[in-house]
Amino acid sequence: MGIIINRDTKVVVQGITGLQGSFHTRLMLDYGTLIVAGVTPGKGGTEVHGIPVYDSVSEAVERYGATASMIFVPAPFASEAALEAMEANIKTVVLITEHIPVRNTIQILAYAKRQGVRVIGPNTPGIITPEDCKLGIMPAHVFARGEVGIASRSGTLTYEIAAELTKAGFGQSTCLGLGGDPIVGLSFVDTLKMFEQDKQTRAVVLIGEIGGNAEEQAAEYISFNLKSKSSPLRIVAFVAGRAAPIGKRMGHAGAIVMGKTGTAKSKIEAFRKAGVKVAEKPSDIPKLLAEKI
């Protein structure tokens, strides 16, 4: 199972004819992802790796019943691409693009809410349900099928931790990057709700970082809904950025401590208060999971 995507998810790749779009389409196809069409305005009628390219998302939806879209479109055009996908009735949008202005992201997410669309990202590595479907740019080989869900605000750190888990024998149900921007679609809470419903997932690793209060919100949700021993989910957290100074962006647009808001300390404390074990280092995560089992 896993969440959001599976081996039958029909996928459109927007920006398929670009360098990134074409490269990762190849890798996703190799992984077994069911990519049914590509979209690049003005390139309708061509093909990329045998996948037909259309001028618009609605054509791809009408012909193939696609329900998910991967967006590799450059930032100045990415929000139009996302709106197009949602208007064409795509229900899962994976917005890989970095550097989308926040004003546009806000508009995208407002429309997504109206249309009932799940937006992953922007500035996300995507989502993978190992051995079933990969909608993203993550290196596939670090992931293995299993029972641990991962929701993360960071890309490479997710690969690092997934690799640790795999090495320790903990396969994954679904791993997804929420996105490194200050404002993103799916949140830790949203994904926790989905992992709760998923039969394959028995544990969840939340990978947070400085900036905002998504981790604090997750902790609050956990303490009201998942704290009890009867809860089916074991949860372990890691928070990057203890060594980060105030007022500086640490690579991600969203990774910034403003005044007293968004510190790693606050997030770690919130998790601990909610009964969530917080790993000091990535390599501790498998140990904490093992303890919990």
Partner: protein, 381 residues
């Protein structure tokens, strides 16, 4: 990107928000000239892109053009938090009845903009939020509906105004919200927004931070993005930005570089965990080119505080042998002799490690071991 106070104020004025009459000066003579055309008393304010200039002596009062020139001379010599003061803004001092706060920023949790007003102005809003949370009024802005005149009036009412003053203040709030949207503001605030003894509202200080990702919409600011003294960035940060790298200077002695913001943050944390002290944060990003890796190296290796360099590459799709060769090349180019610890995993990692080991570089396959070794090397010196 932060704008200078005078720039933010000029934008406010364009939207019809009253600001004190004032002028920019980059020399004491210009300051005196400017003062002659204004009504005393004057305020002379350092134009720098960091907070806390007041405490640093960057704001002074004068009652004559001569005194204004004298203060300008002093201020124009200053360095505030490592930033040189190149210009001062001279303006007429406002008769304050009450100081308020109003700003627009983004609300991450609600995925929208938020308007924040406070009956207490003149200090950092976070401070008010901690000390006097009930003095703060927030209104989430519906992305489709926008910040409307009635939202603005309701906020004016909640910070204590009624009747005509409420209407007047509401108009100022509404204008700021339009300006904030038009300028892709990450933060736009008037602090203090002053109720004068004459019953009008004047923005006595203003801040505008434009969303970096939207800066392409404002070519007038974009073009100075990489100019020293024109942004809040240090020279090192500017050269990193120019190369498309994310760089933050820290206090320690272990130079750190890696691919991916989260991974580099975690590397910093690991170094700290093992008792070391990071000299910087440097993220070369996902698909870094050889040129970017070389630029990154240059920044790291020219930092004289560095005792050891720790590199953390999680190869992913990148080929490790290519990374290894790039590192050696870069090292040669900048003639670096300090020790290097590398963690390198991913496609073709065996070949990559062989190349580096042969060049006398410590190569490890665990991030944490690498961090630990880097700390040991730094302490061993």
């Amino acid at each position: 990107m932060k704008l200078f106070e005078y720039e933010a104020k000029n934008i406010l004025a364009k939207y019809g928000i009253p600001i004190p009459d004032g002028a920019l000066a980059s020399s004491p003579t210009e300051a005196r000239e400017a003062a002659i055309h204004l009504h005393p008393p004057y305020v002379i304010k350092a134009q720098v892109l960091v907070a806390g200039r007041g405490k640093a002596g960057g704001i002074k009062f004068a009652s004559s053009p001569e005194e204004a020139a004298k203060h300008a001379k002093q201020i124009l010599k200053m360095n505030i938090k490592n930033l040189r003061v190149n210009e001062v803004w001279i303006e007429e001092k406002i008769d304050v009845k009450k100081e308020l706060y109003f700003g627009i920023t983004t609300d991450r949790a609600h995925r929208c903009y938020v308007a924040v007003a406070s009956a207490v102005g003149g200090m950092e809003i976070e401070e008010v939020a901690t000390k006097d949370p009930e003095k703060i009024v927030k209104t989430l802005i519906d992305p489709d509906l926008g910040f409307r005149s009635y939202h603005a009036r309701a906020m004016a009412r909640k910070v204590g105004y009624s009747g005509k003053l409420m209407i007047k203040l509401g108009k100022v709030f509404a204008k700021l919200s339009v300006a904030a949207m038009d300028y892709d503001a990450e933060l736009m605030e008037m602090n203090p927004l002053v109720e004068t003894t004459g019953g009008s509202f004047v923005a006595v200080d203003a801040r505008l931070i434009i969303d970096d990702n939207a800066i392409f919409r404002y070519p007038q600011y974009e073009k100075r993005l990489f100019s020293e003294g024109q942004t809040e960035l240090t020279p090192e940060e500017i050269s990193a930005r120019r190369a498309g790298l994310a760089y933050v200077l820290l206090e320690g002695d272990i130079g750190i570089m890696g691919n991916g913001a989260g991974l580099v943050m975690a590397t910093l944390d690991a170094v700290q965990y093992y008792g070391g002290s990071p000299a910087n944060f440097l993220d070369v990003g996902g698909g870094a080119s050889k040129e970017q890796i070389t630029s990154a190296f240059k920044i790291l290796l020219t930092d004289r505080r560095t005792s050891v360099v720790l590199i953390n590459i999680l190869g992913g799709i990148t080929r490790c042998d290519n990374v290894a060769r790039g590192i050696l090349e870069a090292k040669k180019m900048v003639d670096f002799t300090k020790p290097i610890v590398i963690r390198l995993v991913g496609t073709n990692e065996t070949e990559g490690r062989r190349i580096l080991t042969e060049a006398g570089i410590h190569v490890l396959d665990s991030m944490e071991e690498a961090a630990k070794m880097a700390v040991e090397v730094s302490k061993g010196r």
